[in-house]
Structure formats: C-alpha cells, structure tokens
C-alpha cells in the first residue's frame, strides 16, 4: 500500500513544486501524470494487494485518519482518473494558464485518489473538500476566469458537503452511543442501528453532499456555469474524473452506512435521476454554445448513473458503475473536441460554426465518433452501461425508467443536431481560412481515447465480470437482503 500513499501524495508534492516555480513545468507535470498512471495501473493489477489496509495518524475519538483500503472499485476508478490527468494536460498544453490548470488538476487527482482508497469516512470527507476547493480554483483560474462561477461551484459543493458532515456526525454519535466506541471508520459506522426517521434525514443529508457533485437533478445548476466558464481542458478532468467522487461516495459510504434509508429513498432517487436525464438532454438541446452543450450532455449521463445507483439492483448498479467509467472517457473526448476547437480560435458559439468538416476532416471524424459514443451507439463505451442501468431500473420503477429512456432518445437528437450545426451544411464564411486540422499529438490522443472507448464498448465483460466484487460487501448485502432483488 506504499503505492497508494505515493499515489495520493505525489501529485500534491508536484503541485507544490509547480506552484513555487514562475514558469514552465510542462514536462515535469506530464512526467508526474504518467507516473501516476503507472502507479494506478500497478495498484489495480498487481496481485495480492486487494483488500490490504494501512492505518496511520490515530486521533482519539476520530479513528485513524489515514486508513487506506485497496478495494477493486476504488482502484478501477483510480485508473480512470489517472488516465485523465495526462489527457487533460495535453489538451491544456498550449494554453497560457497551463500552470494553474496543471496545479489544480494535480491537487484534484491527489484528492480523488485519497477518496478512492479512504476507509475512514472523515478522511474521505477531508479529501472531498480539498477536491471541491481545487475544482473551484480550476474554474477561477482558467477559461473565462469567472469568480462568480467558481463561487457558485464552491457554495453548492460546500453547503452540500457540510450537510453530509452533519449527517455523518449523527451516524457517528449514534454509533458511539450504542457501542461506546467512537470511530469514523466505515466498517464500524456501517453497523449502526438507526431508526427510520433519523436514517432518512441522515441519508438526505448525505445525498445532498454527494449527489451535488455528480450532479443529480435538482442540484445540477452549478454545472452550467462551471463547464461554461472553465477551460474545456480543465472540464475534461472536472467532468470525467471529479464527478466520480460523488458516485463513489454513495456506493462506498452512504448506502452501506444507511442501507434501509437508501431503500426508502430509492424511488425518489430513481425519479430524480430520470428527470435529470431528460432535463439535461433538453438543456443540451438548447445549449448556447459548445461548452454548455458538452457540459449538459455530461450532466444528463451522470443523472443516468444516479438512476442506476438508486435502483439498488445488481444489474442497474453494474450498469451505472460501468457508465460512470465510460462517461469519463466519452466526456473527456467531448470536452477534448471542444478544447481543440477553442485552441484554434473558435468560440463554440453556433453562429460561427458550420461546414467545418470540409476544413478539418480528422477533427470531424473524431467528433462524430465521440458523439456516437455519447448517444450510446452499441459497440461503444456508453451503450452497455446505459442499457444495464435502464434494464435494471425498469424492474424497479418502470415509468421512471421509461422517462430516462426518453432522455436517451433526446440524446440521439441533440448529438446529431449539434453535429449537423458544426460540421455539416454550407461552410460558414466567418471561419478563418487557415484552420489547422488535428496536430499529430492530438490525433494520437484521440486515437488512444477512441480505442479505449471502443474496447470498453466491445468487451464490457472486462469490467463487468469484476463488478461482483467491485461493490463493497455491504452494498451487496443491502441489495440481497430486502432490496429489490438480484
């Protein structure tokens, strides 16, 4: 587990070093990012590490604040996040705010790895807050440098996460009163006996903190201004990696801690997810520019993830975890396309676009690829996840699942419509004459992302076959014992 500690602390050290430098640091940041990918892969695939635990930093009544646990789900998501670090760094390579972006992405990735390996809920919370602060810094220092957007992001996430903290402390105090043993470890807290009423309120508090990050409808409205203002290269990481923290927190902490409340909340969660899927699709359909479009598309998919999670049904959870990973790649591809276009001076406003395919066929091809993946074309990454989530949810709450399916149909419409606006039709006369197609590096990067997307789509078993153990034992207990059936 030294690898996990290194995985968490290395990017923070790197960020500190970058912050102390006046300029440059591109290659250093990239080297660190690749090192992180390597470490994450080692952690995921090395034999005999799964299940190992490390304890340090014991604080009386709070437990060991540094408790790392290497679970399969955490280490799989860690690989995804590690992969997205170099991806977003490459997209940001030529931006003047590269250093700020690199610093915040490195800090965020360290926090995310902490989240994925934390076994102490308070430790998870601490990393979760750091993640939010670094995210706000990213929004503040890149793109439009909008203070309002950063503040809105921060307020949404912090109000939510402090409510999470209050709910967590309620469970902690109850557990302490019952056993006389005060500790924030999830293994202890999951054994707490909680009455129905207290449980549902506590679970609502936790959902407020975790779902706001996904973002679940109706807590999603920060997403518009965040994705609309941050540099798309940063949004690659923000939408692909950072949002997984909320979903992971629900699977690994909130649901195991309050299983019965989770069941009671499930119908509401499914309905919210379904509404969010549809609503996100409509927002994407009416998006005012390309950034918003990619952002709302991501929100729509993440609501589908939430729908699958709250179905609390094996098939649906498998699907939603799979979709979480697939969404990371596809969203990276979408924001990557936006980033490439903005690097060429295109604002992403619809009026300045049209017929772009004739100028930049390679970009057009990759955009089509990721748009198709976003639509959920069979054979590409999103499809298995969407299908399983919906199939599972249909068994629990058919009409809500049907509503979400409408959202996916709307997805086909908005992706095709936007593609037509940007790439097809007559060449827009305002487009600059010397518009460069993808450079070799970008071309290669899209190939890498595309191949991964294709791989996930063609061979979903690669991840799904491990999903039985990906979910923590507790969550499985919930689902089998009195849940919605397997």
């Amino acid at each position: 587990m030294i690898a996990a500690t290194l995985l968490i602390l290395l990017p923070w050290g790197a960020a500190l070093w970058l912050a102390s430098r006046k300029r440059g640091g591109h290659h250093f940041a990239m080297a660190m990012a690749l090192l992180e990918v390597l470490l994450a892969l080692i952690l995921r695939f090395a034999p005999d590490t799964s299940g190992a635990t490390v304890h340090a930093l014991f604080i009386p009544y709070l437990g060991h604040l540094w408790t790392l646990h290497d679970g399969p789900l955490g280490s799989t998501l860690a690989v995804l996040c590690a992969l997205l670090i170099p991806v977003s760094l490459i997209f940001a390579w030529r931006l003047e705010e590269f250093r700020s972006l690199a610093i915040s992405i490195l800090v965020m990735s360290g926090a995310l790895f902490g989240i994925f390996f934390a076994q102490n809920v308070l430790m998870f919370y601490i990393f979760y807050e750091i993640l939010a602060l670094a995210g706000a810094f990213l929004i503040l220092r890149s793109g439009h440098r909008s203070r309002a957007a950063a503040l809105q992001f921060l307020l949404y996430t912090f109000v939510g996460s402090l409510l999470f903290l209050v709910a967590l402390v309620v469970v902690y105090v109850l557990h302490g009163a019952q056993t006389g043993h005060y500790d924030f470890s999830i293994l202890n807290l999951a054994d707490t006996r909680i009455s129905n009423v207290v449980g549902i309120w506590a679970f609502l508090g936790m959902v407020a903190g975790l779902a706001v990050k996904m973002p679940l409808f109706p807590l999603h409205s920060w997403a518009g201004s965040a994705y609309g203002n941050a540099a798309p290269a940063g949004s690659v990481f923000l939408s692909g990696a950072a949002v997984t923290a909320g979903a992971y927190g629900l699977i690994h902490f909130a649901i195991p801690m309050l299983p019965h409340a989770a069941q009671q909340f499930a119908p509401a969660g499914i309905i919210l997810g379904a509404i969010g899927t549809l609503y996100g699709a409509f927002l994407a359909l009416n998006a005012e520019n390309l950034r918003y479009f990619a952002g709302w598309a991501s929100v729509s998919h993440m609501n589908l993830v939430a729908l699958g999670l709250f179905a609390l049904q094996t098939q649906a959870i498998h699907g939603s975890v799979f979709l979480l990973i697939a969404h990371g790649l596809v969203s990276a591809g979408l924001f990557g396309v936006v980033s490439v276009m903005e690097n060429r001076g295109l604002t992403g406003a619809w009026t300045g676009l049209g017929g772009l395919f004739r100028r930049t066929p390679r970009l057009g091809a990759w955009m089509l690829f990721f748009f198709l993946a976003g639509m959920g074309l069979p054979g590409l990454a999103n499809f298995p996840g969407e299908f399983l989530s919906l199939a599972g949810a249909f068994q629990v709450l058919p009409w809500a699942a049907a509503l979400a399916t409408l959202g996916i149909l709307a997805g086909v419409i908005y992706f095709l419509r936007i593609y037509e606006r940007i790439m097809l039709g007559p060449l827009n006369s305002t487009l600059p004459d010397n518009l460069a197609d993808l450079s070799a590096g970008e071309w290669l990067l899209f190939w890498a992302l595309g191949l991964l997307t294709l791989w996930l789509g063609l061979d979903p078993q690669m991840i799904l076959s491990h999903l039985g153990i990906l979910l923590s034992v507790h969550s499985l207990d919930v689902m089998s014992g009195g849940g919605h059936g397997i």
Binding site: F58, I126, L154, L155, S161, V166, V170, V173
Partner: protein, 442 residues
C-alpha cells in the same frame, strides 16, 4: 494568607509588567519585548506545572490550563513579532507593560472561580486596550476605534458589576460555584448571570452585542489586533467557559445567542466588502460557533475550550499577516505580498481558509468537534446552522483570497525577514496542529 502556588503565573507576569513600565524611564525600553516575551513563556511553563492545582479562588482546571498556556505563549509570540514593527518604536516599555497587564487580566479571567476576581480580570484585560488601540503614531481611525471601544467596554463592565451585585443579592456568595446552590437558583441570581452573560458576550462580540466590532477591527492598528482578537477574546471565552460550565441553566440563552450570532455574523461579513470589516463581522460568527459549543453541556465545554484555542491561533495568524500591510488597505495585495514575503502570504491565505473551516486545517477540526458536541446533546438545529454558516463563510473568505488588489506603492509593505519564521511556524501549527491531539488527550 500564605503563599498560594496558583498565583505564581499571575505574580510573574504582573511583576514583569511593572519592570516594563519602569524601563522607559531607564532607557532600556527596546529590550522590553524580549523581556516580556520571556516572562510570558515562563508563566506558560509555570501554568503547565500547576495544572489541576486548586487555589483559594483560582483553579487551573484542564480548560484553564490549556487556555492559560496558550495565552502565555501567544503573548510571547505577539511581543516578539511586534518588536520588529514600527508601531512599537515609541514608548516600547509602556506598550509591553500594558500588554503584560492585559495578560495578567487574561490569566485571571480563564482561571478565576470568584466573581470579584473575574471582574478584576476583566478590567485588567480591557483597560490596557483603551490606550493600546490609540497608540501614538497609529492615526485618527485608531483614536476613534479606541474611543468607541472604551465607551462600550465601560458599559459592559458596568453591566458585569451589576450582574455580580444581583448574584450577591440572591445568595450572598461571590463564588462561581457556590457551596450549596447554583448561582441561578433564584430570580436575582438568574438576572445576575444573564447580565454577566450579556457583558461577556459583548466582549467576544456575539450578536446582539456586536455593534462595535467592525469599527474597531477597521480602525485599530493590526499588530494590536493580534492581542485584542487573538488573546483578549480568548481570555473572555475562558471566563464564559467557567461561567456556563458552572451554570447549566445558561445553556439555552447561550444557544440562542449562538444561533443569532452565526446568522448575523455571516450575513454582515458577506456584505462587508472591506477586508478588516469582514474579519470583524466574521468574528461575530466565530463567537457564535464558540457559544454553540458551550451550549452543549460537558462535552461542549471541551469543544469550546479547543475552539477558543484554535480561534485564538487563527486570529494571531491573520493579524500577523495583516501587520505587514498598510493600515488602510481594504484588500490584500497578494501579488506583492507573495513576492516580498512569500511565507507570510502563505500564512495569511492559510488562516483565511482555516477560519472558513477548510480541512485539514485546525479550524476544520475545531468546528467538527463543535458539531459533534452539538449533535451529541441533541442540538441538531445548531449543528446545521454551523454547517450552513461555515459553508456560506467560504464565499467571503475566499473572495478575500481571490480579489485581485494592487498596492500603489509596494514600498509601503513592511518587509521583515524574521517574520517569515513566525509565518512558517504558524503554517505548521495551523496545518498540522491537530496531529498533537493524541498527546493533549493522553
């Protein structure tokens, strides 16, 4: 009355204060900050030696010991810090003498178990600030601040005296924990403790007794605000801990004041738009968090002592950072500060985050403990209010951190190499102070 060992720290500090007053006449004033700091450290050590010692009217119980040691060390740090500040170049000895008098009063406040002694402590702690806030060469605004403070603090002292009289009228005892009954057992006693609560709430600027705080924070010189906010308030918090721990009936009014303070403080701070005023108003919210802990019974007393300690540390850090800026700056010129005094800039940004409650700084752990204490004694509404308040507080603390401010003349920034050491120490304490928790509890 024979020798009373619990008095030793007080005697040390008061004696050192006398020496410092004389020093100006003997033209050795410039050594006095070092002398005062050294004696404060010795006083802190002697408090540590006498922990849990029960004297005639002084009791160094665990919270008094904790806060007493902190007060001694913080005054020492403040004196060493101020020694390099131009404000202390005039009448250094007197300034150190007043500050040590203030420390004497503060130590009495945290440890006294007798109402009259508490009153003496309060006066000793408040009176020096009348002069200190308007120290020569600190400008008109400071004079105004000092005058306002003097008027209102005088009023609060009067109220405190009335409270003592009422309690005495009620049960004929001046002890904080009377031998048979509790102070608030009859009507006069109840009115009396409420008057005490109001007076002390005034001193820590809890709403609705907060009107003075922003003006003082804006006008008073930053190096002296280290002492006013980081030490004076902590001492009053110590007195409140003694008072409320002895009188459980006060928990309800304390909870109400806490709730009002959190709401009022956060709203005012958000609308302040001026760095110093923002800090002043947010002090109201912090008084609220402190009182919220105090409302939560025995566990709350522990949480409140730790919150007072952490609050003091954060304020010392903040005003050490602000001391290098020109007095009238309404925002922090981060670019210049980062270039001239990088560690101090780091400290200032860290204290702002810590005040907001960003983990893993000690500000977060203090708030966490308050929330735990509140939930433990079923004050869920207060816990939620704290959570919402501190989430909201990120809006203004981070605005102060993000607001791009320029300094027209960078040379107006005080530049001291030695301050960087303080700042590095402060960063270590604020960021990793919670690691010491196992030793404190063991």
């Amino acid at each position: 009355m024979g020798y009373n060992p619990t008095l030793l720290p007080l005697l040390l500090v008061a004696g050192a204060a006398l020496v410092a007053f004389v020093a100006d006449a003997l033209r050795v004033g410039r050594f006095m900050p070092w002398w005062g700091g050294a004696v404060s450290i010795v006083a802190a050590v002697s408090i540590f030696m006498e922990r849990l010692a029960l004297g005639a009217d002084l009791y160094w119980d665990s919270s008094a010991t904790l806060l007493g040691i902190y007060l001694g060390l913080a005054v020492a740090a403040g004196l060493f810090f101020v020694a390099r500040h131009p404000l202390s170049q005039k009448m250094t000895g007197s300034m150190v003498g007043l500050l040590l008098t203030m420390l004497t009063g503060s130590l009495i406040l945290v440890s006294a178990q007798n109402l009259l002694l508490l009153f003496v402590g309060l006066e000793l702690q408040v009176l020096p600030f009348f002069a200190l806030l308007a120290w020569p060469s600190s400008g008109r605004a400071a004079l105004e601040a000092a005058f306002k403070y003097a008027l209102l603090a005088g009023l609060a002292s009067a109220q405190f005296a009335v409270g003592i009289a009422l309690i005495y009228l009620g049960d004929g005892s001046l002890a904080v924990i009377p031998p048979i009954t509790s102070m608030a057992d009859n009507l006069f006693g109840l009115m009396g403790v409420l008057a005490l609560l109001a007076a002390l709430s005034f001193e820590i600027a809890a709403a609705p007794f907060h009107a003075w705080v922003a003006d003082i924070y804006q006008g008073a010189p930053a190096p002296l605000l280290i002492f006013l906010s980081g030490i004076g308030k902590v001492a009053v918090m110590g007195a409140l801990i003694t008072l409320v721990a002895a009188t459980p009936k006060l928990q309800l009014p304390v909870a109400v004041i806490a709730g009002v303070s959190i709401v009022v403080g956060n709203i005012l701070a958000y609308r302040a738009g001026h760095l110093r005023r923002m800090l002043g108003y947010s002090a109201i919210a912090h008084a609220g968090y402190f009182l919220a802990a105090l409302a939560a019974g025995p566990l709350g007393v522990v949480a409140a002592s730790l919150y007072a300690l952490v609050y003091g540390l954060m304020n010392v850090g903040t005003f050490m950072g602000l001391a290098s800026l020109p007095e009238n700056s309404i925002a922090v010129p981060w670019a210049v500060l980062r270039e001239r005094q990088p560690v101090l800039a780091g400290l200032l940004s860290l204290t702002l985050l810590s005040l907001a409650g960003m983990p893993p700084s000690i500000g977060f752990f203090a708030k966490l403990l308050v929330i735990i204490a509140d939930i433990h004694s079923h004050l869920l509404w207060l816990a939620i209010l704290i959570a919402l308040g501190s989430a909201f507080s990120f809006a203004y603390y981070l605005s102060a951190l993000w607001k791009p401010a320029v300094l027209s003349n960078p040379d107006r920034l005080l530049q001291r190499r030695s301050w960087e050491i303080f700042a590095a120490l402060g960063i270590l304490i604020l960021l990793f102070g919670w690691l010491l928790a196992p030793y404190g509890m063991g």
